[in-house]
């Protein structure tokens, strides 16, 4: 498959590249990869990384090595919504183990897996900077904090409703 940014996405890319000095357009790589991942299917297939490389005039390998280093870039297909649940110390002492077990049970998947309908992916992550509002998870751009089992139920229902409509 070949990828092409539409006009809005291209404008955004140019805005990002303009943040850096002439000839230092490689600096825009992380922002550009976020844009690419968000603009298509939520992950970075090789062809998409190659496209980003061509836009920034760098070698594909420079993109691959970066994409594989940072945990927010997905190198495999993911569900429509990713539940990224924090499991580090402060969340753990505030009960994240129970929340993780409950989400696994409700979605019938293990960490790293996607539900069969392709709606949810469960990912365990390390500290997201929400320790005072634990347990928590990130879904897309937002943090869902102070999680309880009831809250998990309603969050699942909330996202499910957006796809069944």
């Amino acid at each position: 498959m070949t990828y092409t940014f539409n006009e809005t996405q291209m404008t955004e890319l140019n805005r990002l590249v303009a943040h850096y000095p002439e000839g230092k357009q490689k600096s825009a790589l992380l922002p550009a990869l976020h844009l690419a991942q968000d603009s298509f299917d939520g992950w970075l297939p090789t062809e998409l990384m190659d496209y980003v490389a061509s836009l920034l005039h760098i070698e594909p390998i420079e993109v691959y090595e970066v994409a594989s280093f940072y945990s927010m870039f997905n190198l495999k297909p993911v569900g429509k919504f990713i539940f990224e649940v924090c499991q580090t110390g402060p969340c753990m002492i505030s009960g994240s183990d129970d929340i993780i077990a409950y989400i696994q049970q409700q979605l019938a998947i293990k960490p790293g897996e996607t539900t069969q309908d392709g709606v949810f992916t469960l990912k365990l992550v390390e500290c997201l900077g929400a320790c005072g509002y634990a347990p928590m998870m990130q879904v897309g751009k937002i943090f869902r904090e102070h999680l309880t089992k009831e809250k998990v139920d309603s969050i699942i229902a909330e996202y499910r409703a957006t796809v069944t409509k």
Partner: protein, 450 residues
């Protein structure tokens, strides 16, 4: 009520927007700095203030600024470190989310002092909504003449850009951050050369924490000497503490550094005591990297003095009986928490976040996690404790960047102060799967392995 210099206006409705922020006295420090002061006099004020970096290491900010190289014709840069990924730390997030203009104000003054025209905020990728808040604030500041060319008619140009990271704790380390800003993997650089000489794009660069740069605003407004009168000794000014764990009121608190640890934990103005009326077991007072302290050593030093919430008092006794103020990430553990499990999650964190350049860190963090996993799940042996001790000692000081130390210290401190809990886990492989060591007489007298 303690003195507040950063968060005093945080609850004013609409303070996130430019109009209210300006009406409440915002951007005064930019007027003062650009019109009445020059770069050298600003650096002098910052030196007088005694401000120490709020990112974790506590290095004097004025001194750091005076190191920046000024080669002819080479642009210099200021980079704001908003990577905030140290477990327990969420203060910068609060500041940026509720007072974005305070950060911008500090950045403009600091850029002027350093002679930097293009300034970057490197923010952790997960804080996506804060990126939006900052970009909106930047647009407002630009529209009102505080950013761009010829600010206040002085000829000074300043642009601020937000650069999103993508999930890597190591990018909080300043040279890894610079690599990441250049669009590379976050592999720390070998120093020297220091960033002040060769930083981003080989240009002289200063990297400072969000809170450090915000503190420049009150320093300019009130003067360095007045600022230095707040606090105690070399802990001047105020400090943001993000408190979490088993307490009644988790959150971000601004303290002047004269209050005791006991007051911070138990008073209603701050943490409000331990949740559910339970007992305090231990605390990691300055972010996950700093040594954990058992309750007895947290509230009082080894010599029986009251322990205070400042740089000197928290580190009193060195690592044998003290800890560090670090990033201000204050993690409280109650009587039900298991030290082995807590240490395991932190060891896993550091294994996950090691960039992999140095073998002691790359391999050592993995070994420590595996051994702790064994002990936690009832398969450990007493020799494993000594092995853990041996590994952490071989990591510490033998790596390119301080992440190695940061991974070693939590393990060392857990064994140092809670060795009998590790032994109990190992000697009770079945029981330890369903119950906790709790508050059983731990490490008293304090055990200090060689």
């Amino acid at each position: 009520m303690g003195i507040k210099l950063l968060l005093d206006k945080a609850n004013v409705p609409g303070i996130r927007g430019y109009e209210v922020y300006r009406r409440e006295g915002g951007y005064r420090s930019v007027e003062k700095a650009l019109k009445e002061m020059n770069p050298e006099s600003i650096v002098e004020e910052v030196k007088k203030s005694g401000l120490r970096g709020r990112g974790g290491a506590g290095f004097p900010t004025g001194m750091k600024w005076s190191f920046i190289a000024k080669p002819e014709g080479v642009p210099r840069h200021l980079v704001c470190n908003a990577d905030e990924s140290e477990p327990g730390t969420f203060k910068d997030r609060y500041l940026m989310e509720f007072l974005p203009h305070l950060l911008l104000e500090g950045l403009i003054v600091s850029s002027f002092a350093l002679g930097a025209n293009d300034t970057y905020i490197y923010i952790r990728g997960e804080y996506a909504w804060i990126t939006d808040i900052l970009e909106e604030a930047i647009n407002e500041a630009k529209a009102n003449g505080w950013l761009g060319k010829n600010i206040l008619g002085t000829g000074f140009e300043c642009n601020i850009y937000v650069h999103r990271g993508a999930g890597a704790y190591i990018c909080g380390e300043e040279t890894a951050l610079i690599e990441s800003l250049e669009g590379k993997r976050g592999n720390p650089r070998i120093k020297p050369p220091f960033p002040a000489i060769q930083g981003v794009w080989q240009r002289p660069t200063v990297v400072n924490n969000v809170e450090t740069l915000a503190a420049i605003v009150p320093i300019i407004n009130m003067g360095g000497e007045e600022y230095a009168k707040i606090g105690v000794g070399r802990s001047t000014g105020t400090k943001l503490i993000s408190a979490c764990g088993n307490i009644n009121k988790p959150g971000v608190y601004e303290i002047d550094m004269t209050i005791s640890v006991e007051e911070f934990i138990y008073s209603d103005e701050y943490c409000g005591g331990i949740k559910g009326g339970k007992q305090l077991k231990a605390c990691i007072p300055g972010g996950s990297s700093v040594p954990i302290l058992p309750a007895n050593l947290l509230l009082k030093t080894a010599t029986g003095e009251t322990r205070y919430m400042n740089y000197e008092s928290l580190s009193d006794g060195g690592f044998a009986t003290g800890s560090m103020l670090g990033s201000g990430g204050f993690i409280v553990l109650d009587e039900d928490q298991c030290i082995v499990k807590n240490t395991l999650t932190l060891a896993r964190f550091y294994r996950h976040e090691s960039c992999g350049q140095c073998s002691p860190c790359r391999e050592g963090t993995g070994w420590m996690e595996k051994i702790l996993h064994k002990i936690e799940h009832g398969h450990g042996t007493i020799a494993d404790i000594d092995l853990l001790w041996d590994i952490q000692r071989k990591i510490e000081g033998n790596t390119i960047c301080p992440l190695g130390d940061a991974a070693a210290w939590p393990v060392a401190a857990a064994i140092r102060h809670f060795r009998d809990e590790f032994e109990w886990h190992i000697n009770n492989p079945v029981l330890s799967q369903t119950s906790n060591f709790g508050l059983q007489h731990y490490a008293d007298p304090i055990h200090v392995p060689a």
